[in-house]
Amino acid sequence: MNDTDDSNFDDLMTAAADLATEVKPGRDLWPGIEQAIIKPVRPARTMWNTVWAQAAAVLILVGGSSGITYLAVTDGADVTTPVAGGPTLVFESASGSFGSQYNLGPDYLDAQRDLAGRLDDELDHLTPDVREAVVTNIAAIRTAIAEINLALAEDPDNVLLQELLLSTYREELTLMKQVNGFNLSAMRRDDI
């Protein structure tokens, strides 16, 4: 490398250093950036919101009604005065389902049929207040079962909903057991 080359390189570097380091873009680029960085607005309600809201409502409903019924049945346990002409619970035939993909097991259906058949007789021996509480809460539990089944129809593989439905069926059996004074074995997952 000779002196001429060095001189050329120096000129070159001087010219490079003189180049503008700040160049104004031909257009405002901020709107595109802003659009990309602002988070999209989350949808107000999704199907999942609805499903979980239903599940939570059902849980509260079943828990509350079971507690009330338990207290009512316990309080009324000593009252044995027969009451004539009380309301009659009408049980549908064994139409229990577990979402759209599952059916209730035969053991459960037998127990439900048996308990339901005896429940009418037992109700006649309860005071009007207790009987009304039992009828109301059995109806609430069955409404809950129907709603969970609807949610499961939308999301058949939802394990949490399946468990919720199972426990709700279990609540139904427990309530009938309390009224009938029966002692049932615990329901298992493979009963369904």
């Binding site: 390189f9 070159l12 490079a16 180049l19 160049v23 873009p25 901020w30």
Partner: protein, 198 residues
């Protein structure tokens, strides 16, 4: 850097309002607010640095449209990585690093670099906004015709004044490679400028 600068900060109604700011203090303030997801503060940072970032992207890509895309990508990247900015360097330096990574990433992803080389004759009409005189325009054109490796090193070291250590760090190459590429760039530029002047 000098203490005062007048910058335009767009308000929520999109109307530009002139604001006098102390750069060092306010940049730090804006960075902290932007890190807390304040887009208005990030816009202030954008307005403060966009010309430098665009200049760097333009010289590295040699294409105004590609440079605009790079600027947008770089600022979007910066927004998502703001929590990693610890203030160990100036925000502008950090932003340059992000921009360089963005340019290199885009070049790796696409074959636009090859397209750019083919189309260099068409895009060599350097944007009016650069506004240099004839001699510097020759220099701009000559830089644009450099191979990408040599061009990137020359732009960062020769034009923006980063050391070879910083340049190699930004480009992910060895420092010796940076020096070699710079030497190569100088030689090619000298040849090109000599040819053009002949």
């Amino acid at each position: 850097m000098d203490a005062l600068l007048t910058a335009n900060i767009a308000e929520t109604d999109r109307e530009a309002v002139p604001v006098t700011v102390d750069i060092a203090d306010d940049e730090h303030h804006w960075v902290r607010k932007a890190q807390a997801q304040d887009t208005a503060a990030f816009e202030a940072l954008y307005r403060l640095h966009v010309d430098k970032v665009y200049g760097l992207c333009l010289r590295m890509t040699g294409n105004a449209s590609e440079a605009e895309d790079c600027v947008q990508d770089a600022f979007i990247q910066a927004w998502t990585k703001l929590d990693k900015f610890r203030g160990e360097s100036a925000f502008g330096t950090w932003m340059h690093r992000v921009a360089v990574n963005t340019v290199l990433g885009r070049m790796r992803k696409s074959r636009r670099e090859q397209d750019r080389i083919r189309a260099v004759a068409e895009v060599s009409s350097v944007p009016d906004s650069i506004g240099d005189n004839g001699g510097l325009q020759d220099m701009e054109l000559a830089i644009n015709e450099l191979p990408s490796g040599a061009r990137h090193v020359f732009v960062l070291h020769g034009v923006y004044g980063y050391s070879h250590g910083e340049t190699s760090g930004m480009l992910g190459i060895a420092e010796g490679t940076s020096k070699a590429q710079f030497h190569r760039a100088r030689r090619l530029l000298a040849q090109q400028l000599k040819t053009e002047s002949a």
